[in-house]
């Protein structure tokens, strides 16, 4: 036996390295602009961060604030909404409705202790694949810097909370 063998009292149990934090981002993209930009980025074989789960909706105006809160409540670290540029909405007004809801929802998230930067709204047209790629990477890096969210205490946590 080699002498270098550490004696048992000094030996540390091998600590499993925590895997580095990978942000989970839920994205709602409108069918007519941002989703097509994602499609174009794909067919153009652009590379971007793989952390985003995309949900296609017909219009950014279809994004109910409940969708955003539900995503956070189920473990999303960030939520991205993508729509057509102002004036370009396929349904004329949907993206303005999305903008208004987004502005108020951000304030409300702040009140709930969730960093407002975890929610983001971007206008990306069907031809802007390069911009799409940049937004994806930028969002992932922002949320990575903010760290994991861990928003929802489970029922078991509620029960443990009694100390006073």
């Amino acid at each position: 036996m080699p002498e270098a063998m550490p004696n048992s009292s000094q030996a540390m149990a091998p600590v499993a390295e925590q895997p580095p934090f990978e942000p989970r981002i839920v994205a709602f993209f409108c069918n007519w602009c941002t989703y097509l930009a994602a499609d174009l980025a794909g067919t153009s074989r652009m590379k971007y961060a793989p952390n985003v789960r995309v949900v296609r909706v017909m219009c950014s105006g279809r994004v109910d604030p409940q969708f955003v809160l539900d995503a956070f409540a189920h473990g999303a670290d960030g939520v991205l909404i993508g729509g057509c540029h102002p004036g370009d909405c396929h349904y004329q007004e949907g993206n303005y409705k999305a903008l208004r809801r987004y502005r108020l929802l951000k304030r409300m998230l702040g009140q709930m202790g969730i960093d407002e930067d975890r929610l983001r709204l971007e206008w990306i047209s069907a031809s802007e694949a390069e911009r799409f790629r940049w937004v994806m990477n930028d969002m992932v890096e922002h949320v990575r810097a903010l760290g994991p969210l861990h928003v929802q205490p489970g029922k078991e946590v509620f029960a443990e909370e009694v100390t006073v």
């Binding site: 409940q66 955003v68 502005r103 909370e161």
Partner: protein
């Protein structure tokens, strides 16, 4: 006498308003007493916890629990009454959704105790004493229930069969609920015993709601002379009607005040606050960001307004606590 079904009422974190509803049944309370035995009702009748404990499980037909769950004692009572009752009803907003006490979920226990027992202007507490679970005084051990970090709804603690909405439920809603229970033809478990449509549907001012409603800025009731005929939203008042379950017959609107949302959401909505946010924000007139922000700034407290009665039952349930997170704590602005 012994054959009459037993009904119980109990209160947890609440103001007592729901008990008023029972009294407000007026003559109908006599029909109630004729039809059932009231087995437990601490606010009005002298029963003790041991009376309930002595009953066999399931001895009570239906127990109406009002109030949110905030202390260990309330949780114990909720579990005890669940065991002794065939049907458990969440009675009123606090029990159903969390209610006004549920807004405490915007704070944590330490800051609540600090504020109430040390900082409030009317408090004299030179030694800064805070409530504790056990205290010895002259050799006697005094015990207090634990105070929870998070306010919960009844259904977040025990299994609930039906919900009776309102802050407080109107006597009519209670009467209908009692008739439903005693009639024997029970609705599906989990049903909210009130109509499943938004308050706007039964609003006496419904016809004055414009087809294309836009709002330049929101107004609070003390800032305007409120027209008694016209839709309150059309007057720029923050009315929760579009996102709130009706059945209450709109007493607030009839009193010329906007709906504050005590009926909770309809069955198609998960999160009442998010739904009214969606509805109100989209009504804002402007299309450019600074003007939108300016208009929305006239809602000073979005969470307090949109989740006045429903924060613990909302998707996020409470303000995020920063302890125990292994990431960088999110900053609160």
């Amino acid at each position: 006498m012994a054959d009459k079904p037993k009904v119980a009422f109990y209160w947890c974190a609440s103001c007592g308003g729901c008990e008023e509803t029972v009294v407000d049944l007026n003559e109908a309370v006599l029909d109630l007493v004729a039809a059932v035995d009231i087995a437990f009702w601490p606010v009005a009748l002298d029963f003790k916890r041991k009376d309930i404990e002595a009953m066999p499980d399931g001895a009570i037909l239906a127990t109406f629990v009002n109030g949110a769950i905030r202390t260990t004692e309330q949780e114990e009572m909720a579990r005890l009454l669940r065991r002794k009752s065939q049907l458990l009803l969440a009675f009123g907003s606090c029990s159903h959704l969390g209610g006004i006490p549920g807004l405490a979920n915007l704070f944590d226990r330490a800051s609540i105790l600090q504020s109430v027992y040390r900082e409030s202007p009317s408090t004299v507490n030179a030694d800064g004493v805070l409530p504790s679970l056990r205290y010895k005084d002259n050799g006697h051990l005094v015990e207090l229930p634990g105070f929870c970090q998070t306010v919960r709804t009844l259904s977040q603690v025990v299994d609930v069969d039906y919900y009776v909405p309102g802050c407080p439920p109107t006597p009519r809603i209670l009467r209908t609920a009692l008739q439903t229970l005693l009639g024997g033809d029970l609705p599906a478990k989990g049903t909210v015993l009130a109509p499943d449509s938004a308050l706007c549907e039964e609003c006496p001012r419904k016809d004055s709601k414009p087809e294309n409603l836009t709002i330049a800025e929101f107004k609070r009731p003390h800032q305007v002379l409120i027209d008694e005929e016209k839709c309150l939203l059309a007057q720029g008042l923050l009315c929760m009607g579009p996102a709130t379950r009706g059945g209450c017959e709109a007493p607030c609107i009839q009193g010329n005040m906007p709906c504050t949302g005590c009926g909770g959401p309809t069955s198609r909505v998960k999160d009442q606050g998010a739904k009214i946010l969606s509805s109100l924000a989209s009504l804002v007139e402007s299309k450019d960001e600074p003007a939108i922000d300016h208009a929305l700034a006239t809602i000073p407290d979005p969470v307090g307004s949109f989740y006045r009665y429903s924060l613990p039952s909302s998707l996020l349930r409470r303000k995020k606590l920063h302890s125990g997170s292994n990431g960088k704590a999110a900053q609160v602005r």
